[in-house]
Symmetry: C2
Subunit: 197 residues, 2 copies
DNA sequence: CCGAAAACCGAACGATCGTTCGTTCTTGTA
DNA sequence: TACAAGAACGAACGATCGTTCGGTTTTCGG
């Protein structure tokens, strides 16, 4: 119960904190706000966290670790390039939609974190980006027959991230289709262009 | 002794403020920070602005108005659907790269603004989005021969915005090609898919 | 050179911030 | 029942926040 099982109270606090921080930003959310929204007193929060920065750090670390696990599971599935790219987009979008608030927080950047913690989160982010880039590289090599330069490949990968991550600002499952519809649309647009469908 | 700007104007203050807000967020940037970076005293800033929110409002209004002007100029050029889409992407990216800090601020949202001002900015944003959507619609109608549903068309437009706007987090002209290269890549990826080039 | 308008400043206000402290409830186990 | 440990609390700390105010300097047409 100490190290093996995550504290359910702690996860609940992180989720509710992310919901608030997603809409007000890190500096715009006070510890008093977080205490109220988690049903605790201000000083009671400090029983679980060393400080406000802890919350931001844990939201980021948990989020990017989950994304990395998703990519790792996918790699072990042994798909071909096309299924791999399709599966990655689907899982990324699925996780995004299920954790919209945490993802919003994760996009505000790491500048509020300490130097060491900021580096740690950025490292996780970069590893995930490289995993995605390898999948994009494999797909393009198959579809195109020849490879892209490093600059072009990185750019294409960033464009894919753009389509996937920009949804934080507009997507609602009611008005813009299911997450599966969205993932399919991104896959087809990225591989065939906007007239595909 | 403060290092004062010899001939300061309002635009200069906005640019320097945006540079700071882009990296620290609205709440993370204090009026004292803004006074220092603009070479003025704290109270001296209030000679130009009614308050902190004024700065955020003016940065947003100026930015979205400029984007709308760009789209308006383009519409008067009388291009066909393909040149129109290409020109829009090129101008949007060009403005983005020239005003990276302001664009970063504009993406943090309008929740810090007053109700009326927030609505005004969101209206500008929505008008610009609809302009872009019309251009996308015209292109797809030509390339595909048939139209898309409203939901699909809006989704495609958001995907294009994703590729264009996500650059705020990664693009540097040194490592990822010129703005023209980037605009070309987005155009080709959006119209033909990632293997185009 | 004058004087009013504009530009600018230091000092301070009340409010809120993150954090800390000493204390009190609650709970599990012996 | 006893009692240590975890959980939660109210109150207060110094720091910083946005803003205001009274006064000083600079600018510039007459």
């Amino acid at each position: 119960m100490l190290e093996t099982n995550p504290n359910p109270n702690l996860d609940e606090i992180l989720i509710r904190s992310a919901r608030l921080m997603a809409h007000r930003g890190y500096h715009g959310t006070s510890m008093r706000d977080l205490a109220e929204v988690t049903g605790r007193s201000l000083s009671g929060l400090y029983h679980y966290f060393e400080g406000k920065e802890d919350l931001l750090y844990l939201i980021n670390k948990q989020g990017f670790t989950s994304l990395l696990d998703l990519a790792e599971d996918l790699r072990e599935a042994g798909f071909g390039p096309t299924e791999m790219l399709k599966g990655l987009i689907s899982r990324h979008i699925g996780f995004f939609v299920d954790h919209l608030d945490e993802m919003r927080v994760m996009m505000f950047g790491t500048l509020e974190l300490s130097k060491d913690r900021g580096r740690e989160i950025n490292r996780l982010k970069e590893v995930y980006r490289q995993n995605v880039q390898k999948i994009v590289q494999a797909y393009i090599a198959e579809a195109r027959g020849s490879g892209l330069s490093e600059v072009e490949l990185a750019r294409k990968t960033y464009l894919l991230f753009g389509m996937m991550n920009w949804i934080f600002g507009w997507y609602s499952s009611g008005a813009h289709g299911t997450p599966e519809d969205l993932a399919d649309d991104i896959f087809r647009t990225f591989t065939e262009g906007c007239a595909a469908g």
